[in-house]
């Protein structure tokens, strides 16, 4: 009986093997694989935005997005299974892969495109050791303050253009019985990052771009007075319970995405929220549907007039692991406004291209953000993304949390400095 079963099994599998012989796939389609961290609707918009490329060249672009990008990209690269192209959210990752020799440097025609289509800062951010690797596509800008338009108009608040005006406005709000800010820094395994953005934004305004860069390179230590000053300015707002809705506990426990919600209660429980352009997707549906009527936005005011109104931003850079003619064609497409236009029209994305058509953005708000980004005199890339992982995605985040939770600022700064590799 058992033998009969075995014999049957053998025949079945032999059959499968024969069947398999005729199945071998012959691949002659031209395919480029792209791996990135954005998913769902954003992935769909990306795919639609690059469709004109496929239509024109016949090259299929297979995008794979994953919420586990952070873990997967290093496993795949180290494991010998990298995608053709990856969209890296952190320049630190690019530097790492470049040092390991995993990346293909920019070739001449691509470099020329980058030189003509982007401000020099983007090329520098995509370079390691003087060699350019990364091409930026969708970027974000974070130095913006959002407010409930109707409530502001009713109270007669005016947009501040200097830090003094901002402080006066906050006091005016308190006097009117309003709470100025809604802040939340909880973000699961990345809790603390919205706080690092605040500090960076202030740092750019007080110390200027050069000191900012020294801070990133640890040429000035993390407990340097310039850094401490930035923290203290943030702390003056954050730790004043009159200024912040719900106080420290709210800051610590509220998810950054939920944190703007008090602005849209009726009446609003808070009047301002500082966050990047992507925050609009977290607004309640009724607000998102009437964005221009309900929401106003202004850049975080200047502190030291010498630096004007700097813009803090971030973005994914596309880097090449496998050098094929198709990959080259696609990368060159990505370096042009053509590749971003449809996504810009769909909304929720800003682009750094110099020759972009601002009319493509679907509403006045995004148009003004894109304008601010392209025209910024001082542009600072998110410092925590540029610092080594131990600090930028480690002790800086946790340091912010400890600080808000009541730890002494000097201790926090010393701890972060000690963790620098």
């Amino acid at each position: 009986m058992k033998k009969v079963v075995v014999v049957l099994l053998v025949f079945l599998m032999a059959g499968a093997a024969v069947f398999a012989a005729g199945q071998r796939e012959t691949v002659d389609e031209k395919v480029v694989t792209v791996f990135g961290a954005f998913v769902d609707e954003e992935a769909r918009r990306f795919e639609e935005a690059i469709r004109p490329f496929t239509d024109a060249t016949g090259i299929e672009v297979r995008y794979e997005g994953s919420s586990e990008f952070e873990t997967l990209i290093s496993v795949r690269v180290e494991g010998g299974n990298p995608p053709d192209i990856a969209a890296l959210p952190q320049p630190g990752l690019m530097q790492n892969f470049a040092q390991q020799g995993h990346l293909v440097p920019m070739w001449n025609s691509l470099e020329q495109l980058v030189d003509s289509n982007y401000a020099p800062v983007w090329k520098d951010l995509g370079s390691e050791g003087g060699t350019p690797y990364g091409v930026f596509h969708r970027v974000n800008a974070k130095s913006f303050v959002w407010y409930p338009k109707k409530a502001w108009d009713a109270a007669g608040y005016e947009i501040p253009t200097t830090w003094d005006e901002l402080e006066a406005l906050m006091d005016q709000m308190v006097a009117n019985g309003h709470t100025p800010w809604a802040i939340g820094i909880e973000s699961g395994g990345a809790t603390g990052w919205p706080g690092t953005d605040w500090v960076e934004d202030v740092m750019l305004r007080t110390a200027g771009p050069e000191v900012y860069q020294q801070w990133i390179d640890n040429e000035i230590p993390f407990n340097h007075p310039a850094v401490k000053e930035a923290f203290e300015i943030v702390g003056d707002i954050w730790f004043n319970d009159d200024y912040v809705y719900g106080g420290r506990n709210y800051i610590l426990t509220t998810s950054f995405g939920d944190s703007p919600r008090p602005l849209f209660e009726d009446p609003p429980r808070a009047m301002m929220h500082r966050q990047g352009n992507f925050v609009t997707t977290f607004f309640p549906d009724r607000i998102q549907d009437n964005l221009e009527q309900e929401v106003g936005v202004f850049p975080l005011p200047s502190i030291n007039p010498e630096w004007g109104i700097p813009v803090l931003g971030g973005g994914d850079q596309f880097v090449v692991f496998n050098d094929t003619p198709e990959v080259r064609q696609f990368m060159e497409f990505l370096a042009t406004w053509e590749s971003g236009k449809l996504w810009a029209q769909a909304g929720g994305a800003l682009f750094p291209y110099l020759d972009q058509d601002l009319d493509a953005y679907p509403n006045e708000i995004e148009r003004s953000l894109a304008e601010a980004l392209v025209n910024a005199e001082v542009f600072g890339f998110d410092a925590s993304d540029l610092m080594p992982g131990q600090v930028g995605a480690g002790s800086f985040w946790t340091g912010i949390v400890d600080w808000v939770n009541g730890r002494n600022l000097d201790t926090v700064l010393n701890t972060i400095q000690r963790s620098w590799p």
């Binding site: 058992k2 075995v6 099994l9 053998v10 079945l12 599998m13 032999a14 499968a16 093997a17 024969v18 069947f19 398999a20 199945q23 071998r24 796939e25 952070e70 873990t71 290093s74 496993v75 790492n96 040092q99 390991q100 699961g188 395994g189 990345a190 809790t191 603390g192 809705y245 719900g246 106080g247 506990n249 709210y250 610590l252 426990t253 429980r269 080594p388 992982g389 131990q390 995605a393 480690g394 985040w397 946790t398 949390v401 400890d402 939770n405 590799p421």
Partner: protein, 370 residues
């Protein structure tokens, strides 16, 4: 086999030679056929474009049948060998496949980690014990050791304790399946879902707002101030451990329950006839009979507590004094890209499990085989 033996003994010397030769050929041929069949299946599954349904069916037959075939062929070959050799090799027919796969998938990678733990971040320069110095002196690591100890004691105690109580009670209830299914339910929820569930329990809103977290709603209902639970040191560790107990009790319950079913009812009946109270029966008869199962369940939950990662990582990210070893390991490895430290911390986990291994080995030695 007996048929072949008779035919061989009845033939002449020449016949015997032919039979021996035939045997050798068959002994080679059968494994060869088995190999070809498995390889064919492998190639098919690797390269096929067939519809998903067909792939899945072939896959299941190939995978399951293939494993059975391997066992059968190995056994067949071993039985053809001289008796002494066969006896020595036979056990490996059973444990061999597991050892090979474990070796490939876990043991060799673990050795590699051990090796990498003596190197720097990018595995280029030898750094001696530097990564271990980090692992045993970094303040966050020291914090993790204390916390993991708390996880082991409270998490294991809670899950095994509740699992045992529920299994014992359910065994005496008519609605056993219903109760067990509900306690098991959390296990079936994916971790992302469980994360959302516990957010609704621990959520904090400022006093002037309506609470959406169950716990704070109860606190405010009784007139208290809402609390930010995850920032309350050191109690926040216990709030996190509650999640583990909630998740793992179902596991402990299912295994313990299966062991309870395995106790011969005659033993318990004998106890009842002797007039022992239910409590005495549980302590004197039931617990000793399932003791080895309790050790097993406790061992696995201790190991789960040692490796605890996702609960801490998504709920607090190790802030407010809740850091644990496995979360440190993950961060070093994938976020800070420091393979040396990441590997060293993984080795620390292996070191930490030595007492558990030692105890299990003692239990193991008490049982002998044939």
């Amino acid at each position: 086999m007996s048929e072949q033996d008779t035919s061989a003994s009845s033939g002449g010397i020449g016949g015997r030679a032919v039979v021996t030769l035939g045997r050798i050929l068959i002994s080679i041929f059968i494994p060869f056929v088995a190999f070809v069949v498995l390889w064919g299946g492998f190639i098919f599954l690797r390269d096929t474009n067939a519809p998903q349904g067909i792939i899945a069916s072939v896959a299941i037959i190939w995978g399951v049948g293939g494993v059975a075939l391997l066992f059968w062929v190995a056994d067949w070959v071993v039985n053809r060998l001289p008796l002494q050799t066969a006896k020595k090799l036979q056990p490996f027919v059973f444990v061999g496949p597991a050892l090979v796969i474990l070796g490939w998938y876990l043991f060799i990678p673990a050795l590699r980690s051990l090796y990498l733990s003596f190197f720097d971040a990018r595995s280029q320069a030898f750094v001696g014990l530097q990564n271990y110095v980090f692992a045993f002196t970094d303040p966050k690591m020291l914090e993790s050791f204390v916390n993991n100890l708390m996880w082991i004691v409270l998490g294991t105690g809670g899950a095994v304790g509740f699992g045992l109580i529920i299994a014992l009670l359910a065994d005496r209830s008519r609605f056993e399946k219903f109760f067990k299914a509900l306690v098991f339910l959390p296990m079936a929820i994916s971790f992302v879902g469980a994360g959302v569930i516990w957010r609704f329990v621990y959520a904090y809103k400022p006093p002037m707002e309506e609470q959406i977290g169950l716990l704070n709603a109860m606190v405010t209902f009784f007139g208290g101030e809402p609390q930010a639970w995850f920032t309350m040191q050191p109690w926040n560790n216990i709030f996190l451990i509650v999640i583990l107990v909630w998740l793992q009790t179902g596991y402990a319950m299912v295994i313990i329950s299966a062991a309870l079913k395995g106790i011969p009812s005659s033993i318990i009946e004998a106890g009842r006839i002797d007039g022992a109270t239910e409590m005495k029966i549980i302590i004197r008869i039931i617990i000793p009979s399932i003791f080895s199962t309790l050790v097993t369940v406790a061992t696995t939950i201790i190991i789960i507590s040692l490796k605890i990662f996702d609960i801490v990582f998504t709920m607090t990210n190790g802030n407010y004094g809740t850091e644990v070893i496995a979360s440190m390991q993950y961060k070093q490895m994938f976020r800070f890209l420091h393979y040396g430290r990441g590997s060293a911390i993984a080795m620390v986990l292996v070191i930490a499990v030595i007492p558990v291994m030692w105890y299990n080995l003692r239990q193991f030695s008490k049982r002998e085989g044939f």
